[in-house]
C-alpha cells in the first residue's frame, strides 16, 4: 500500500495536536513553522481552558458549556461540532494532565477550576496565568518525542508561501521559503493541515505575536479557499497599551475576583487607592449584576467604550479604566496570577498587587477564518484542512474566554485523522503528480521575490502597514459605521496601489526579514479587505460586530455565515444558513437577572 505523507503548517497548539494525531496513525508528517514551535503564539494564552468537569458541585455539564458557547457567540456558530467539542473537552483536559501540564490543584490533588467570562460555572482549568505556554510545551514535548523516533520532520524557520494545486485544483503540497537562505522550494504531500493562527498584525498593534499576520490564510484565500465570517473580530477588554503591542491582562484576573472601575468624578486626579468605594463606579457590576465583571468580552468592551467615550469617565481623562486586584490576598495572586502580574510590573514598573492596573481594550482574536465543513475540518479545496484560530467554526460572533484552547486542540484532533483518511483514500497520490506542477508554483513564488527585490519606488512597507493598522483599528473593531467602512476599503485599495511602489531597504539574499515582511504585507492588505467588506455588508449587530445604525440582531436577514470568495482578483460574498438545529436562537441579554 502507498504510504501517504502529510504536511502541517503552523506549530501552535492546533498544529502540534494535528501532528501528534497524524504521527500516531503511523503517517509521516512534515511540520512547518516560522518560529521554533516552542515559541509559537499559543504561549501567550493566559487564563485557562474550558471543560465542564463539574468538580465543584455546581451541576455543570457539557450541554451547559455548549449552551454558554452558542449563546456567547450570538447563535452564529454551526451547532453540531460545537456540541461535540464541549463533550470532548473533559477528556482533552485529562489528556493534557497526563502529558504533564502543571495545572493548579485542589487540596485533594484534583484539577482546580476558576471562573471565566460568559458563564456562571467554575469551568476553566489553569496553570497559573500561563496556561497556553504550559499546554504548548506539553504538546511540543510529545512532538519532540515523535521527532526523535523519526516520525515527524520539522522545518522551523520556514514560512508558507502557497499551496501547490494540480490541474484539478487538488492540493498536492506546499511552497515554502527558508527564512535564512531565502530559498523557495516545494514539498509534496497528500494533504496539508493549516494551523496558522491569528491575524492581529492586520490591526497594527494587537495582543497577538509578531508572526500572527494571517498571511497564510490570505494566500490560501487567493488560491480559492473560502474565508468565513471574517468580519467577526474580538477585541479584548483588558490590555496594556504599548507602542509595539498591546499586552494582554487575562480575563482570569476578573475570574479570580478582579474588579473593573473608574472614578465617578470625570478626570479625578487623586491616586486610585485614595478614592473611597462610594466614589468608584464599578460599571460592569452595576449594569450586569448577574455576570458582573465576567460578562463576555464584546459586552465588556462596549461598556468600556461607553464609559470612556460617551460618559467621559476614563481614568485621568485618558482612554483607560482600572482593573483592580489589590483587594485580593497576595498569596492567591502569586499562586494563580503571577504570570500576568509580572508582565504588568516588568513593562510598566508598577506593582499591580499594590496599585490598580490601567487597561484598555485591544484587538485580540478572529472568530472568522478559513471556511471548513461540518465534520472534518476540511476546506472547500480537496486536500486542504484547517484547525485552530485560522478557521471559523467554533465561536460564532464572539468567542468566550478559555474556549480558544479547547477549540485548537479539538480541531487538531479532528483534522489529523481526517487528513489521514483522505490521504489513504486518494486514488492518485502526490507522488504521481507531474513535476511541472511543482516547478510552476515554485517559479511563480520566486518571481514575486525577484520583483520585490528589483522594484524601485518610494513607498516603505512598514509605513503602509502602520496606516493599515490605524484604519482597521479605528473603523473595523468595536464600533462600525457603514460610511467609515466604505472609506476604509477605499484606503485599503489606495494602500494596495501604493504597495506596487514599495522599495525594499534590504536587497540582500540572506535572512532578509524585509522581503518576507513585504510579502506578508500584501496578504494582510487582501485579508483586511475581506474583513472590512464583510462588515460593511452585514447590516445588523451581533456579538463582536456592532453597528449603531443597526443596533439589533437581525435573524430574519443575517442568521447567516459569511463566505468570502476570491474570484479573478475580486472579492465576492455568498451566505450560508447557520445550523441551529440543537439550540433555537433566543435574545442575548446579559443585563437581566
Amino acid at each position: 500500500m502507498r504510504q501517504p505523507k502529510i504536511i502541517v503548517v503552523g506549530g501552535g497548539l492546533a498544529g502540534l495536536m494535528a501532528t501528534i494525531k497524524v504521527a500516531e496513525a503511523g503517517v509521516p508528517v512534515e511540520l512547518f513553522s516560522i518560529v521554533p514551535v516552542r515559541r509559537s503564539h499559543s504561549v501567550c494564552a493566559q487564563g485557562g481552558i474550558n471543560a465542564a468537569k463539574n468538580t465543584k458541585g455546581e451541576g455543570d455539564s457539557p450541554w451547559k458549556h455548549f449552551d454558554d458557547t452558542i449563546y456567547g457567540g450570538d447563535f452564529l456558530a454551526n451547532q453540531p461540532l460545537v456540541k461535540a467539542m464541549c463533550e470532548a473537552a473533559p477528556a482533552i483536559i485529562d489528556l493534557l494532565d497526563r502529558m504533564g501540564v502543571p495545572f493548579n490543584r485542589t487540596p485533594e490533588g484534583l484539577l482546580d477550576f476558576r471562573r471565566f467570562g460568559g458563564t456562571l460555572y467554575h469551568r476553566t482549568a489553569f496553570a497559573g496565568a500561563t496556561t497556553g505556554q504550559q499546554m504548548l510545551y506539553a504538546l511540543d514535548e510529545q512532538v519532540r518525542r515523535f521527532e526523535a523516533e523519526g516520525k515527524v520532520h520539522k522545518y522551523e524557520g520556514w514560512t508558507f508561501l502557497s499551496a501547490v494545486l494540480d490541474e484539478q485544483g487538488i492540493c498536492r503540497g506546499i511552497c515554502a521559503m527558508d527564512l535564512k537562505s531565502m530559498q523557495v522550494r516545494t514539498f509534496s504531500a497528500d494533504a496539508a493541515i493549516f494551523c496558522t493562527g491569528g491575524i492581529g498584525a492586520i490591526f497594527g498593534r494587537s495582543t497577538n505575536s509578531v508572526v500572527c499576520t494571517g498571511s497564510a490564510q490570505s494566500a490560501l484565500f487567493q488560491q480559492g479557499v473560502h474565508y468565513a465570517n471574517g468580519e467577526f473580530i474580538q477585541v479584548h477588554p483588558t490590555a496594556i497599551p504599548g507602542e509595539d503591542k498591546f499586552r494582554l491582562m487575562s480575563e482570569s484576573a476578573r475570574g479570580e475576583g478582579g474588579r473593573v472601575w473608574v472614578p465617578r468624578q470625570p478626570g479625578d486626579p487623586r491616586p486610585p487607592k485614595s478614592i473611597p468605594e462610594s466614589e468608584r463606579f464599578y460599571f460592569l457590576e452595576e449594569w450586569y449584576p448577574k455576570y458582573g465583571n465576567l460578562v463576555p468580552r464584546d459586552v465588556a468592551v462596549r461598556a468600556i467604550h461607553k464609559v470612556v467615550f460617551e460618559l467621559k469617565l476614563g481614568v485621568e481623562g485618558q482612554p483607560a479604566v482600572y482593573l483592580d486586584v489589590t483587594h485580593l490576598p497576595r498569596e492567591l495572586l502569586d499562586r494563580k496570577l503571577e504570570g500576568i502580574l509580572e508582565i504588568y510590573e516588568k513593562f510598566l514598573g508598577v506593582d499591580p498587587r499594590v496599585q490598580p492596573m490601567k487597561v484598555f481594550p485591544a484587538m485580540h482574536y478572529t472568530m472568522g477564518g478559513l471556511w471548513i465543513d461540518d465534520e472534518n475540518q476540511a476546506t472547500n479545496v480537496p486536500g486542504i484542512y484547517a484547525a485552530g484560530e485560522c478557521e471559523y467554526h467554533y465561536h460564532g460572533a464572539n468567542r468566550l474566554g478559555a474556549n480558544s484552547l479547547v477549540s485548537c486542540l479539538f480541531g487538531g484532533m479532528l483534522a489529523g485523522p481526517a487528513a489521514v483518511r483522505y490521504a489513504r483514500n486518494l486514488e492518485r497520490g502526490a507522488d504521481a503528480v507531474p513535476v511541472s506542477v511543482f516547478e510552476r508554483e515554485q517559479r511563480r513564488q520566486e518571481e514575486i521575490n525577484e520583483r520585490l527585490l528589483r522594484q524601485d519606488g518610494k513607498e516603505n512597507p512598514i509605513t503602509i502597514w502602520k496606516e493599515m493598522g490605524e484604519w482597521m483599528t479605528e473603523h473595523v473593531t468595536v464600533v462600525r459605521y457603514n460610511k467609515n467602512l466604505e472609506r476604509t476599503d477605499q484606503k485599503l485599495q489606495e494602500l494596495l496601489e501604493r504597495y506596487r511602489h514599495i522599495n525594499l531597504s534590504d536587497r540582500t539574499k540572506w535572512s532578509n526579514q524585509t522581503l518576507n515582511f513585504a510579502r506578508e504585507l500584501y496578504n494582510m492588505l487582501i485579508l483586511a479587505r475581506v474583513i472590512t467588506l464583510g462588515a460593511l455588508r452585514r447590516n445588523e449587530s451581533r456579538g463582536a460586530h456592532y453597528k449603531p445604525e443597526f443596533p439589533e440582531r437581525d435573524d430574519a436577514n443575517w442568521l447567516k455565515t459569511t463566505r468570502a470568495i476570491y474570484d479573478c482578483g475580486n472579492i465576492r460574498f455568498e451566505y450560508d444558513p447557520v445550523d441551529v438545529s440543537l439550540i433555537p436562537p433566543r435574545p442575548r441579554r446579559y443585563d437581566v437577572q
Binding site: I20, K21, E24, V35, R38, R39, S40, H41, V43, C44, A91, D94, L95, D97, R98, G100, P102, F103, N104, R105, E108, G109, L110, A127, G128, Q133, Q134, A138, E141, Q142, R144, R145, E147, A148, K180, S209, V210, V211, G242, E243, D244, K245, R247, R335, G339, I343, K346, F347, L348, G349, N460, I462, T463, S505, D506, T508, W510, S511, Q513, T514
Partner: protein
C-alpha cells in the same frame, strides 16, 4: 529652546555567518515607554545611521513581545536579556546591542539556538504517554508538588543561562542549566518519574551535569526566576545516587 531628547544605539552587525562583524550607530528620537524592540522597528522603517549613511534594517528574532516566548534574547549593554522587556529609560546610553555570543549568528542580532532543542531531545524531556486516546484522568498530584513543578516549567528556552555560563564555550558540549532543569521537571512528574533512570543516564553522559562548575551565573540571568542552581544540585544528587546504587536496583 526645547531640545529633543534622543536615544543613542550602537549595534553589532553581521550580514551573514561567514562575514565579519562591524558596528553601526543610530540616533533616534526619544518617546516614553520605549523598549529595544521599538528602537529596532524604528531603524527598520528608516535604516539610516547617525552619520547619515543608508544601511539595511537590523535582523533580529522576536515574537510574543511579552517575555514568554523566549525569542528576543540578545546582549544589551553586555547583559544577556530579552529585548522586549528592556526598557530604554532603564538603560545606560549609548545602548549597545549584540547577538548572544554562545550561539552561531544567523544575521545581526539573530542567532541559531536549535542546539537547545536538540539537547531536550537527548534528555528525553517529555512525559512518555501511551497515546492520545482516552485513558482517563492523569495522576493526582499534591498542590505542593504542582507549586514546585510549575516554576520549573516556565523556562522560555531563551538561552540566557547558557550565554552567561563559563562552561558553555567552544571547547565544551555542556548542555547548560535550562536543559538540566527540564530533567528535574520531568523526574518530578509521577509518570515522568517512571523513566527517571533514562534521563539521569543521559544527563550523566558527555556534556551533561559533570560539566557544571558551579559558577551560579545561570540563576542570576534567568528572566523567569527559575531556581536553576537548586535544579542542578537536585539532579546532581539523583545522578550520584543512581551511579552508586543504581546497579543494586538495575
Amino acid at each position: 529652546m526645547a531640545e529633543t531628547k534622543t536615544v543613542l544605539v550602537h549595534i553589532k552587525r553581521q550580514l551573514a555567518p561567514d562575514q565579519k562583524p562591524y558596528w553601526e550607530e543610530f540616533e533616534l528620537s526619544w518617546r516614553p515607554f520605549m523598549n529595544v524592540i521599538i528602537l529596532l522597528r524604528e531603524i527598520a522603517e528608516r535604516p539610516v545611521t547617525r552619520e547619515g549613511k543608508v544601511t539595511t534594517p537590523v535582523a533580529f528574532d522576536a515574537n510574543c513581545l511579552e517575555e514568554v516566548c523566549g525569542a528576543c534574547a540578545m546582549r544589551i549593554n553586555g547583559k544577556a536579556r530579552q529585548a522586549c522587556s528592556a526598557l530604554v529609560d532603564q538603560l545606560e546610553q549609548p545602548i549597545r546591542l549584540e547577538p548572544l555570543s554562545k550561539f552561531p549568528v544567523v544575521r545581526d542580532l539573530f542567532v541559531d539556538r536549535s542546539r537547545m532543542f536538540e539537547n531536550l531531545k537527548r534528555m528525553k524531556a517529555w512525559v512518555p504517554i501511551d497515546g492520545t486516546y482516552p485513558l482517563g484522568e492523569g495522576p493526582r498530584m499534591a498542590p505542593e508538588v504542582q507549586q514546585r513543578a510549575y516554576p520549573l516549567s516556565r523556562c522560555i528556552t531563551c538561552g540566557n543561562c547558557l550565554e552567561v555560563c563559563p562552561q558553555v564555550n567552544e571547547r565544551s558540549d555542556f548542555v547548560g542549566a535550562a536543559i538540566i532543569n527540564q530533567v528535574r521537571l520531568f523526574n518530578l512528574h509521577p509518570t515522568g518519574a517512571m523513566h527517571k533512570r533514562e534521563r539521569l543516564e543521559a544527563v550523566m553522559g558527555p556534556g551533561g551535569i559533570h560539566d557544571c562548575a558551579n559558577a551560579q551565573n545561570c540563576v542570576k540571568a534567568c528572566p523567569k526566576g527559575i531556581p536553576l542552581v537548586e535544579s542542578i544540585s537536585e539532579v546532581n544528587r539523583d545522578a550520584i545516587r543512581q551511579a552508586i546504587f543504581g546497579w543494586l536496583f538495575g
